[in-house]
């Protein structure tokens, strides 16, 4: 990891604290207030906040703009950038712009394909032309080049290094499972300083993959933040198990949620248990929490897991 970068998230990890990140989806509109409202709910609960980049290929306020709004509200953003909508020219230009605005954590993703726009709920833009000039691993390399060599992908110099703390996503349980640890190694080789994983429900399977990464020496090179989605019902778990690639939900967990009198309270309990369990795994340095469009749940569950107050570094 570059010593030049000093984001809060990096400092928390460097100091050996168990890190917490959360997710903020920008609104489908031009008004900054929804972002500020989410910021008000989430402030002080996490070390940094991911801002998604037109997730599910639905047009939303840009991740750069929403990240800047968070920053102005005193929250440290992790600006997500996908490979779907920008070629390498636009990517690097946006990265320089983001850096100028004070956005220093950036996370590279392939991005959801536009054909699956809106996940069946919204129209999206399935007729759009995608870009995919570079893939997420190549984007990591580009960001690292801007930071470590002050150089653009094409070879031209930039005026000074752009200090980024570089993130990636990791889907440890996605098929072909035997290639997921090697792919993590590729992301690290390309430039990833930290990864956030696809949501964990199957602890055993997740632990097995993390163990492999640990034994391969990868957890020394990258901070793994385990992804946790707060479950709200058995139906939600069944849906994710069936439809969200890379998410494995054990039957027993679905049954437990089904049997619960108060599904919301049970979901909180499950979340706290998951957090405590991943915390025990060697190589897991934090959690990345999501409560898809129900941020108020995070305000309950993060303190309940004993993760507040967040360290001041």
């Amino acid at each position: 990891m570059s010593s030049r970068v000093q984001t809060n998230l990096q400092k928390v990890l460097a100091a050996g604290h168990f890190a917490v990140t959360a997710e903020v989806g920008p609104p489908q509109g031009p008004n900054p207030e929804p972002v500020r409202a989410k910021a008000a709910i989430l402030k002080g609960l996490a070390d940094a906040y991911n801002v998604t980049d037109n997730q599910t290929a639905v047009v939303r306020m840009s991740s750069i703009a929403a990240a800047k709004i968070l920053l102005d509200e005193g929250l440290e953003p992790v600006m997500q950038m996908t490979c779907r909508d920008r070629n390498r020219i636009a990517m690097q230009s946006d990265l320089l712009g983001a850096s100028a605005l004070g956005l220093k954590n950036v996370l590279a993703l392939s991005g959801d394909h536009q054909k699956a726009s809106g996940a069946g709920k919204l129209n999206g833009h399935p007729g759009a032309k995608n870009v995919y000039d570079v893939d997420s691993i190549q984007l990591l390399g580009i960001i690292k080049g801007l930071r470590d060599e002050a150089r653009q992908q094409g070879g031209d110099a930039i005026t000074e290094p752009a200090p980024f703390f570089i993130g990636a996503a990791w889907t440890p349980l996605g098929p072909p499972v035997e290639f997921r640890v090697p792919r993590l190694a590729k992301k690290i080789a390309a430039g990833a300083d930290f990864v956030q994983t696809q949501a964990v429900f199957d602890l055993k399977a997740f632990a097995a993959q993390v163990k492999k990464a640990h034994e391969a020496g990868l957890t020394e090179k990258v901070a793994i933040l385990a992804g946790i989605i707060v479950p709200r019902s058995a139906g939600m778990l069944t849906y994710m198990n069936k439809n969200v690639p890379g998410i494995e939900v054990p039957e027993a967990l679905i049954a437990r949620m089904k049997g619960a009198k108060d599904a919301k309270a049970e979901g909180m309990k499950v979340t706290v248990e998951l957090i405590q369990a991943v915390r025990e795994l060697p190589g897991v340095k934090g959690v990345h929490l999501q409560a898809i469009e129900a941020e108020e749940l995070l305000a309950e569950v993060i303190p309940a897991a004993g993760l507040t107050p967040r360290p001041l570094v």
């Binding site: 394909h113 699956a116 570079v134 190549q138 992908q153 098929p175 072909p176 290639f179 090697p182 590729k186």
Partner: protein, 223 residues
């Protein structure tokens, strides 16, 4: 082969409004193989158009021809005699053949009868799947003969995205294999999984569509 697909009938009919004599041209090569624009399809489409237009009160005379290869000038020349008798030409050839026909008969409106969609193979009867996108920088040697440009929905170069389904299909279409799933399978079968560990740098796209209209010059063949 180059694969084309029929345009919707209403679109074809709308394009034919006002014409009295139409030349409907097929091609006996790729579009015949993919059952979109060969002699058989020409012979089926002609009466269909005729009938549908008649129902709309338009009487049209349709002459049919199927060229050996619509992408070669000498075959297109075969239309020279018949072309003056019609007021429009509809072609079921691929976009390449269509342009050659349009170029040869500049005074005739050229109507595309098909959409050219892909470079594909016939995988099974009635099923064609894309194989190549003419990217100009072939990587098949590194991907065990499976093309990640044409066959990965995101043209990824460094392995599968997080979207591979449990059954190895692509997140974008439950009936399409995740090509990276198959690449990993083939690499494993060959005992060469490690070869995929190398980070592949950004591709050069400029030797294809992204370098501006392609112009291939072979000095040794120019007279």
């Amino acid at each position: 082969m180059i694969v084309a697909e029929w345009k919707p009938l209403p679109e074809l009919l709308a394009g034919l409004k006002g014409y009295k004599n139409l030349l409907l041209v097929g091609c006996a090569t790729c579009v015949a193989e993919c059952a979109a624009g060969g002699e058989r399809e020409v012979n089926t489409l002609a009466p269909t158009l005729h009938m549908a237009l008649k129902n709309q009160g338009q009487d049209i005379n349709i002459i049919t021809r199927t060229l050996e290869r619509a992408c070669e000038p000498e075959f297109v020349e075969e239309l020279a005699e018949i072309a003056p008798q019609v007021d429009a030409i509809m072609s079921l050839s691929c976009g390449i053949g269509m342009q050659l026909i349009a170029e040869r008969f500049l005074d005739k409106p050229l109507l595309p009868g098909v959409n050219t969609t892909s470079l594909a193979i016939r995988e099974a009867p009635g099923l064609w799947t894309a194989r190549c996108r003419a990217c100009g920088d072939c990587v098949l040697g590194e991907t065990f003969g499976l093309c990640p440009v044409a066959r990965c929905a995101k043209s990824l170069m460094n392995g599968p995205c997080g979207g591979t389904r449990k059954n190895g299909r692509c997140e974008v279409d439950e009936n399409t294999d995740c090509i990276w799933y198959l690449i990993v399978e083939r690499a494993k079968a060959r005992g060469e999984l490690e070869s995929l560990n190398q980070v592949r740098q950004p591709k050069t796209w400029s030797n294809s569509a992204h370098g501006g209209p392609k112009r291939i010059v072979r000095e040794d063949l120019r007279s």
